[in-house]
């Protein structure tokens, strides 16, 4: 037996140790990859501010339904209510004859000012700022709704 060769069991345990070290480093590398993975997938670019111009004046009914909001302009004032239901995000509709807003998915109801009246939704509908642009005669020419 030459002095340079290692005993069999010692070589075996060294191999086992190396194998284990390799296994741990692979797991470590995978775990380390989770960080850039989460950071990348969770990144949200800031949405551009959106301004939607609705030409005025509104019809006599005093409201107009757009894709993302319902604009009300009457004697009480001008405001825009989000059309995204606070229950599960479906697009709500204004029911003119009943004078309330209703969700087609689970029939949550809201008042014209977005207050929750009934149904599974728990929060009020968000309200958006509206800038009224008047013409020289003081009549509304356009409504600019700021969506945030």
């Amino acid at each position: 037996m030459s002095g340079k060769t290692l005993p069999h069991s010692s070589a075996k345990s060294r191999r086992a140790l190396l194998k284990r070290l390799f296994g741990w480093s692979v797991s470590g590398a995978l775990l380390a990859l989770l960080y850039p993975f989460f950071r990348f997938t969770r990144y949200q670019p800031k949405p551009k501010p959106r301004y939607v111009t609705v030409p005025g004046p509104l019809p006599l009914s005093g409201y107009r339904q757009e894709k993302d909001f319902i604009l009300f302009a009457n004697q009480k004032g001008t405001h825009a209510v989000s059309r995204t239901c606070t229950h599960l995000g479906c697009r709500v509709n204004y029911l003119e004859d009943k004078e309330y807003i209703e969700c087609p998915c689970h029939q949550s109801r809201f008042s014209q000012s977005g207050e929750r009246l009934a149904g599974p939704a728990e929060r009020n509908l968000p309200i958006y700022k509206v800038e009224v642009q008047n013409n020289d005669n003081g009549k509304a020419q356009a409504y600019v709704v700021e969506l945030v």
Partner: protein, 287 residues
């Protein structure tokens, strides 16, 4: 006198001996091929516009869309039949890890079918997508991340949903089914009747599509989603949208090996299914 029991026995034998697995796979193949064709025309930037273009303007668009829709429906229904018959026959179970890997194909199939509805971009699809997003967000701790990964419809439109419908879920499904498919291949020549039936249905039946319009006071989700939609009225989003649909999947994943315990799992599965059917019926009454 004995005609009725004989007939029942005959139907039972017919159901048990039907090649459910092969039929499921062939429908899936048709769905995949027609899906790739549709993707050539589909544009995720304007989902509704491009679906309408395929349906109304593109030559043979209506046929390819119908083929994709009906083959996918056939795939899902046949898959349900396949699972029921396999459980009924009490065939030998796989080792747990392989079993879970295989059964994972079922929720993936549901997600594939569901994302298909969302991609239509019509009133039903849009509402279904937004509901799915909110269900995802209701999951504690990982909900936001999961939504960013899977749906994120409010911020990204249907871009991510399309990606997963086309690649993500398909790759996951292929991974989960791979050992099973290598063991049980399906041959087209054995399923010519099914192929002809799907082709004929696609030629003659219209594929559903619902535009957004005034006076749309009630939106009913996809037929398999109706029970969930009803449950979401009564319970919190997390319980109705996550816990309830996970029950049968978890039961299937951890189906006990021993016959006696397995009977209990079957009873729970059956009860869940009956409850879901009742909810679906209630929801259907509202349409």
């Amino acid at each position: 006198m004995n005609r009725f029991p004989d007939l029942l026995r005959y139907v039972k034998q017919l159901l048990l001996n039907n090649r459910w697995g092969g039929q499921t796979l062939i429908s899936l193949y048709i769905s995949l091929i027609s899906g790739i064709l549709l993707a050539i025309q589909y544009d995720a930037h304007s989902p509704y516009y491009s679906t309408a273009t395929i349906e109304l303007i593109a030559p043979f668009g209506r046929f390819w869309r119908a083929l994709h829709y009906y083959s996918s429906q056939a795939f899902f229904l046949l898959l349900l039949g396949h699972i029921v018959v396999v459980l009924w026959k009490k065939e030998e179970m796989l080792p747990r890890a392989s079993w879970i890997r295989l059964c994972a194909s079922f929720p993936i199939a549901v997600l594939l079918l569901f994302t298909g509805y969302v991609l239509r971009g019509d009133a039903t699809g849009e509402a279904a997508g937004l509901i799915a997003e909110n269900i995802c967000l209701s999951i504690p701790v990982v909900g936001t991340w999961l939504n960013d990964l899977l749906f994120d419809i409010t911020e990204s439109g249907v871009r991510k949903v399309y990606l997963h419908h086309l690649i993500g879920f398909v790759a996951l499904g292929a991974f989960s089914l791979w050992p099973h498919l290598r063991r049980y291949p399906a041959f087209w020549r054995n399923h010519s009747v099914l192929v002809l039936a799907i082709l004929a249905i696609s030629v003659f039946l219209k594929t559903p599509m619902e535009p957004e319009r005034f006076g749309l006071l009630h939106i009913a989700g996809p037929w398999f989603f109706l029970g969930l939609q009803e449950l979401l009225r009564y319970l919190s989003t997390f319980v109705a949208g996550v816990i309830a649909p996970c029950i049968p999947v978890v039961l299937l994943f951890f189906l006990p090996q021993k016959t006696e315990k397995r009977q209990w799992a079957y009873i729970f599965l059956a009860l869940w299914l009956i409850a879901y059917c009742i909810l679906t019926w209630i929801s259907y009454q509202r349409i």
